[in-house]
Amino acid sequence: MPTAVSVEHLSYSYPGVDNTPGVAVFEDLSLTVEQGSFVAVLGGNGCGKSTLAKHFNAILLPCGGKVYVCGMDTSDEEKIIPIRRSMGMVFQNPDNQIVANVVEEDVAFGPENLGVASPMIRQRVDRALQQVGMFEYRSHAPHLLSGGQKQRVAIAGIIAMEPKCIVLDEPTAMLDPKGRREVMETVLKLNREKGITVILITHHMDEAAQADRVVVLSKGQVVSDGTPREVFSHVELLHSIRLAAPETVELCKALNDEGFRLPLDRLDTEECAQALYDAIKA
């Protein structure tokens, strides 16, 4: 499979204030993301998740090493627009990424910047709004929408640019459970039906469990990388970097500590119940 993003020996440190040395976030990080995959990036506070996300569309440039997006080098200035066009980014606070005071005008902002012809913009906007299920709100004012709806408008604004890949930087952190569910459903749908590569940065384990692949970062290093089942079964490793596994795994782990022998890769409530049933019966 072709790669959507490839990070090669990335090092980055934030510039220090008044000639003091900056804080090094990454020293030697390598990572590749295949096109069409759904990757969740997990990590505690300050592990460099958001910094990494900003490298994916040339908001930050590497101090050392390279980042390639769809084969384009992010440090090549002429490639910045094509890179941002193929790599959409959704941020945490939905309020601070909506530009216009009408939903459809906001969704049109990206395509307008790309110089798409007017009738085509109309089509793209309508399609994007339908894909996130916000079409009937197209002429509403964004400040009257709920958090989940605003975040879906923000996602529509990104997919109207028709990117190959979307990075979501903790898109559900400020939302209520209902809004979180709406956003996750939208993201999953885009990945499954449109084949858009999704890189989801999160600290909700149940969201990460829905991905094809989970990458765990700690202190600027990849400490675990694999399918959700593989990654979450290393409960001790997760605990050592102050992350919790999904609740089902935590339950099985707690029971195992008391002498049970349960598998640690049951992410679904249903599966977990079945495993418990089997264990008790045996």
């Binding site: 627009i81 910047n113 790309l114 007017s118 913009i121």
Partner: protein, 268 residues
């Protein structure tokens, strides 16, 4: 309480005035103002007034909301009226006291001045009442487009206006939240001397400003991520296009201007 603030005072509707292109409305407003200031007598004022009255009637904006908007201006109107009554020299003296005389000319002049201000404001209200803020900005950007050649940042100004309007409700909400938070910790905004009350605003303004800067920073990043690079090479989803209705509007504007000038040349 802050939620009551209405913005732009736009009354959605589907009247011919609403459907006019925002550029047409802006141009007609300028034409109307020129006509108003060229009018010098009863007849020409009557023509301009008729134009305004018909526009209001067609727009279906309730007269009450226009009058309501006038409230804050009553003081200025009275002040202008009094100033003109007392300080206009004339021959037909009606009353004279303490060396000040009120003349018939003064009263007529005051009447026209007040009428002119009233009609000026009503005309402007009609524009903002019938045009949504976003199409108003679009119209302005398009009309001022030629000034880009003089390196005037027309697109940037329009973008700033648009973003400002987008964030006003967000910031009002935020102010409400900060006020509640400060009240919950015992802040008092409603009592004390004027100075005390002004001082009490500091703990609201400081967090509000900090948060506004943070928002601006995040918004700028988000805009960059969406390939924003200024006005060059940008297209628009909604293109402004003059329609038949707009040409009719221009026709009415030309007739108005011609009528006022012709009447003026006859000294009416």
């Amino acid at each position: 309480m802050l939620k009551d603030i209405t913005l732009g005072q736009y009354f959605p509707g589907n009247s011919p005035v609403h459907r006019l292109d925002p550029r047409t409305k802006l141009i007609l407003l300028v034409v109307y103002i020129v006509a108003l200031f060229s009018a010098g007598n009863w007849v020409s004022y009557g023509v301009v007034f008729a134009f305004l009255a018909i526009s209001i009637a067609v727009s279906q904006i309730p007269l009450k909301s226009i009058l309501h908007g006038m409230k804050p201006l009553v003081f200025i109107l009275i002040f202008t009226g009094i100033l003109n009554i007392f300080f206009t020299a004339g021959e037909t003296v009606l009353v004279s006291f303490w060396g000040i005389s009120i003349t018939l000319e003064g009263i007529i002049r005051a009447f026209f001045m007040v009428l002119r201000i009233l009609m000026l404001i009503t005309g402007t209200f009609l524009l903002t009442y019938t045009t949504s803020p976003i199409s108003l900005t679009d119209g302005l950007e398009s009309l001022l487009g030629p000034l880009k050649k003089l390196h005037l940042p027309v697109h940037e100004l329009a973008m700033m206006m648009c973003i400002a309007m987008r964030f006003i409700p967000t910031l009002i909400e935020e102010t409400d939240k900060i006020m509640s938070a400060q009240k919950a910790r015992g802040a008092d905004f409603e009592s004390g001397s004027l100075l005390d009350r002004v001082k009490a605003l500091v703990p609201i303004l400081v967090p509000l400003f900090i948060s506004a800067f943070r928002r601006a920073d995040e918004l700028a990043t988000a805009m960059e991520c969406r390939c924003y690079q200024g006005g060059d090479g940008r297209t628009k989803m909604k293109l402004l296009r003059y329609k038949l209705l707009d040409f009719k509007g221009f026709g009415v504007g030309v007739v108005l201007l011609a009528a006022v000038f012709v009447l003026g040349s006859f000294g009416l």
